[in-house]
Symmetry: C2
Amino acid sequence: MQRILNLETKKHIGKKVKISGWVNSRRDHGGIVFFDLRDRTGILQVVCQEKLAQGIKDEYVLEIEGEMQKRPIKMVNSELETGEVELKAENIKILAQAETLPFDLRDLNVSLPTLLDFRPLTLRNKKIQAIFKIQGQMISSFRKSLKESGFTEFESPLIVPSNAEGGAEVFHIDYYGRHAYLSQSPQLYKQILVGVFERVFTVARVFRAEPSITTRHLSEYISLDAEMGFIESWEDVMDVCENVIKDIFSDLKKSCSKELRIHETSLPETRKIPRIKMREAQEIIFQRTKRDNRKEPDLEPEDEKEICSWAKEKHGSELIFITHYPAKKRPFYTYPDPQDPDYTLSFDLLFRGLEIVTGGQRINQEEELLKNIKKWKNQPKDFQFYLQAFKYGLPTEGGFAMGLERIIKQILGLGNVREASLFPRDMERIDQRLSLLQPKSKKTKLKKKK
Amino acid sequence: MQRILNLETKKHIGKKVKISGWVNSRRDHGGIVFFDLRDRTGILQVVCQEKLAQGIKDEYVLEIEGEMQKRPIKMVNSELETGEVELKAENIKILAQAETLPFDLRDLNVSLPTLLDFRPLTLRNKKIQAIFKIQGQMISSFRKSLKESGFTEFESPLIVPSNAEGGAEVFHIDYYGRHAYLSQSPQLYKQILVGVFERVFTVARVFRAEPSITTRHLSEYISLDAEMGFIESWEDVMDVCENVIKDIFSDLKKSCSKELRIHETSLPETRKIPRIKMREAQEIIFQRTKRDNRKEPDLEPEDEKEICSWAKEKHGSELIFITHYPAKKRPFYTYPDPQDPDYTLSFDLLFRGLEIVTGGQRINQEEELLKNIKKWKNQPKDFQFYLQAFKYGLPTEGGFAMGLERIIKQILGLGNVREASLFPRDMERIDQRLSLLQPKSKKTKLKKKK
């Protein structure tokens, strides 16, 4: 007999079927046992005689044959997607046993370290699974939106030859006895590929050796990156970014309404996103709070929250673009504003108090780039490969990068960005807590290959 | 005026338009200049007075306004996708200049090192672009095929805590003063996620510190990985693998016929793929060649070629599954054949003489895994996280992994797998030749973070 999925059970009322899945819960009632059986499509109630269910506990993997029946009373407000039917089990085969669980998996109430220590188990919880269904949908929507706009997807390399963009937060690799690094961004490669495909995007992995533990940083995360040539204005880049965000939100509303409901959240209306200059934002923040950060080169976390409150009150928008960041706070390739060259044609997108996207126009003239590479105290020889793209003709262009886990954190109101990463890495953890695996030592030397 | 793309030009005959792109070539004929102008959709002929085209060379980026005209004679066998029309230029704006090219980019005839040294430029060649259009289509088809079969896509982590599967070919990372490694496979994570989503796949990046230069190895490559629970037999895994390969080939025929034609190749008929045991394959090879490798634990490269020739002659198939590899040559999690436990329920898929897929059923019982982890001389403590998946109930399962660049190499008949990687990494190269960037030293020490 072929296995059927829980979602298909309604079509089989009155018939013999076979189903398989995990025991989500077990309830004993005077000689009768009820299981909630979970498979990838939902949860089904199974009922059987006690003797058939001997020794079966939560998370056992079962294969059950029996008759599909209409339930006497439709369960309302039930966890079951298949509340109208139940399976009367006639034969139960145990495919795999499970140890007694360390906590209640259905009503999960554990600390973040425990949640992550037991990730292979806690990912089975419905509310946590919902996070990653949303993640998957967002990546699909990002791809779909950009492909429809003529973008080509590419796979960016992750081992890079130099710490090209500077900054201490880079991981070193022993590369056949030489130095190499883990990519901090697909930036240089996506610009190179504007010379090939004009419009490109990538679902990139990026690595940051963040030296501290915060609720919004990961050592390895997913960056949704896009870059486009032949722009008429730097605002074309913002327009594409706004369009992508709207497509993602609109797809989530359609495809993940159940998952959003489980997290008791909803998405913002997709109205026009307001755009203001950083200096204007600072003035507004000063007027509202009397905190004077007007001379600062960037927005502090509390400033980002404040300007988001303003956007909500003034424009009814949970999203806001902040533009024209100072040149010295942006990377060397950022295009200066011709009207005011200390500032740049760049933007951040803030959502519910947090920066989720960074973008802007790039310098596309080799000499200008070389000048800035030196000004930023980088080595021109590290950029020879990259500069070829400009030496042989690159159009005006720009792009943006979205931090996937951060957007999910903001959508679902998660307390920590780690919850939005399947297997989060930080300075204390790679799967397990590192202190459990190896002693830390200032003298640690990486073993060399012979 | 809004820019139109080359592919849209036919709709604009007799109208004023603006187009933009790169000079693919320039031809001067007595005061008249012809350009082939390349954009992301194709190549268009532009004609203008000499004075308008002063100083313009190959790879210059232009924005041209003019009138779209029907060409007097339709060009047959032309490189131009838009052979029926041409643009009579009235105004040419240079968006970016280009240096004189180091070689002819249209008729590219350079050594592999030069091809890669100038990757940002050589990727603009039509035949090379075609390789990456095919790559993109293959990844899309892999995703589509598996999503239609109920698989969930996930993003596998790339920094891993231990060299879990053993083997010397692993890259070491300095992880906040501790040891960590670059992932050699998403294997452990995809098995963990069978416990969550039943059926999962990932477009993974994998890293191998290959200590030698061959035509079929890369230090960083793309692995198309899938894993599925609730299998009835290990052959279910082969069936899904066969289905995915057929979907990929069939989509390529539909969507990339132009690119396949440029490479003067075609795809195999998607007939039933023959399946034979490794021992049978060795016997056949011995009968055909009198080379006696019948006692060997694996197939050598020349054996793979020979058995592919046999499959072509005997079954008319360019693909063949070889099954039942010896346990000692497969990883610790490979399921032993109950009939003959020195062999395993595993398979390789060979295509035109090269292994392109590896897969099989996995052990899903914690005690059996633990026994093998010890037998394979691994540390059980390195597997605590992974083993949770089995401790709390994991169904019978299996999966497979496809080497993307290898499949592309075989489809297009490329001489070297590096040609199928956008930015290939090997022991001598990360973008540029490493010898140009830093001297090699046995004493190289990775710098520690402070």
